[in-house]
Amino acid sequence: MIASDLLDARVLEADGQAVGWVVDLRLVLDGTTDGILARPRLHGLVVSPRTRTSFLGFERSDVRSPWPIAPLLRRWHRGTFLVHWPDVARVPEPDDADHPGPAVVVLRPGYLRYDATLHR
């Protein structure tokens, strides 16, 4: 699997209800040490209910300037949340020639939505 298999994929709840798109992958460097750094573990998916584009990340940071770009983008991405990886039931199949179409991530029933803010 590669990161872009997941990025921009549509996110569905178990009953098929669409909840947004994967805009980013949350990684945590707490795996076993591999070389110098710990190996990044896929901790969860950052899901935006409105848009696939999240190139500036204002909705996840505490940066409020420059006004009005930062507040506008933050507003545009309001409702962005984090789902933990164990709450993911199915991911898009790579090289899936039998099921062409938009890539889809399906969440487990009863999944939890966490705050996606990054703390420095």
């Binding site: 190139f55 500036l56 940071s61 940066v63 300037s65 420059p66 006004w67 009005p68 770009i69 930062a70 420095r120």
Partner: protein, 408 residues
């Protein structure tokens, strides 16, 4: 002298933006058709490029990341790729104009047909890119380009009625021109002042010179000396044209016409100085655009780049510049008018400028890159006003170009 050399990067960058072959002629066209009534646009452009270049220089000095690296990081491969395509179109079109412009300028001093000068000019540009150290390159072309101060001297020697000249400064559409044409030229001048390759060159030049956070003062000095000087010279050219060519009923369409007001003001000597300045400016702009081609492509794709490395250690970067020069010579071999080529760069600038400005503004506010050197409130206020101006100008550029038939 040392102070002067410290600002060579800013001077060379500004020359490439305000005084490249296309702009030399455009400034004279504007002066001969609109008098001084568009000088305010140059003023607005100077402030804009100062803000823009200051932020990109600061990001390069503090984070070590040049502008196109930032564009790729913030915009991702698609939007950055679009920007890359548009930026390459602008830089290569300008490079074509500059190689042709060097040849035209040499013709003014030699009576040898400019078509014969084209391969010589391209080879000379390549040799400098290949062999000359970055600092020597910027110092020599920057200092020789200062000979264009001759245009400002010419304005004084022409002894104009200063009151009348100042009265022309008010923004107004001359009776014999229509508003669409006026605004088309306003956008062309603004776009020329704020061409994206200036910040690619300026920020990468900072990296070439090894700037760190300690060099922020140098960066600021470069910005505050270089761009206002470039703006002043470009207004001087317009003033020369307004004083001599406009009353004579001359429409500027060739570089040679730039020498006429200078000859009237200061005679053969000043003409010689100006020709040296034009050769240096077009040569400097050719270096700037060729390098910007290499910088933007390398930074987007993660290639090793820079004149501080041996060419073999930045092989693809050098190959890209060689190919750009080959393209320039090939285009000029079709007998196209090198000055007319730049007319169309307005279109590509309209795409590239907002896509370059936005990521720089965003990163200049990001503490992960800038630490405590993030933009202050005043800087952000000015920068945001200019973001709006840039977007408006970009949206208006193409319809105005079509409506006025490129200012025809």
């Amino acid at each position: 002298m040392k102070r002067l050399l410290a600002v060579a990067l800013g001077i060379l960058t500004a020359i490439g933006g305000f005084l490249d072959a296309g702009d030399l002629v455009t400034n004279a066209v504007v002066g001969s058709r609109f008098g001084m009534s568009l000088a305010w646009v140059v003023g607005a452009g100077v402030i804009g490029i100062c803000v823009f270049a200051h932020m990109s220089g600061k990001v390069a000095a503090v984070s070590g990341r040049a502008t196109f690296e930032i564009i790729r990081e913030r915009l991702g491969p698609r939007a950055a790729g679009l920007n890359l395509a548009a930026s390459l179109a602008v830089t290569v079109l300008t490079l074509v104009a500059e190689v042709g412009g060097i040849a035209l300028a040499l013709q003014l001093a030699s009576s040898v047909d400019h078509r014969l000068w084209v391969p010589v000019a391209a080879l000379a540009v390549w040799l400098v890119l290949w062999r000359v150290k970055f600092e020597i390159m910027e110092n020599v072309t920057g200092l020789l380009g200062l000979a264009l101060v001759g245009f400002a001297v010419a304005v004084f020697l022409l002894g104009p009625d200063w009151g009348e000249l100042a009265a022309q400064l008010a923004p107004q559409v001359p009776v014999e021109e229509d508003a669409g044409t006026y605004w088309y030229y306003a956008i062309a001048l603004f776009g020329a002042a704020m061409t994206p390759y200036e910040v690619f060159f300026f920020s990468s030049g900072g990296v070439e010179e090894g700037w760190t956070a300690k060099d922020l003062a140098t960066s600021r000095l470069n910005v505050l000396v270089g761009f206002p000087l470039g703006g002043l010279l470009s207004v001087s050219i317009a003033a020369c044209a307004a004083l001599v060519l406009m009353p004579a009923g001359i429409q500027v369409d060739a570089m040679s016409q730039l020498t006429l007001p200078v000859a009237q003001a200061g005679g053969t000597l000043l003409v010689a100085v100006i020709i040296v300045g034009i050769v240096a400016a077009t040569f400097g702009a050719a270096l700037e655009t060729a390098l910007s081609t290499g910088y933007s492509l390398s930074q987007y794709l993660g290639w090793s780049w820079g004149k501080f490395r041996r060419p073999a250690q930045a092989a693809r970067f050098h190959l890209a510049m060689i190919l750009a020069l080959v393209v320039a010579v090939a285009v000029l071999a079709t007998n196209v008018d090198p000055i007319a080529v730049t007319e169309y760069s307005v279109v590509f600038s309209a795409v590239a400028l907002p896509l370059t400005y936005l990521p720089i503004l965003v990163v200049a506010n990001d503490p992960e890159y800038m630490g405590d050197q993030v933009n202050g409130r005043a800087m952000n206020a000015v920068a945001t006003v200019y973001l709006v101006i840039i977007v408006v100008a970009a949206v208006a550029a193409i319809p105005l170009m079509i409506a006025t038939e490129a200012g025809g």
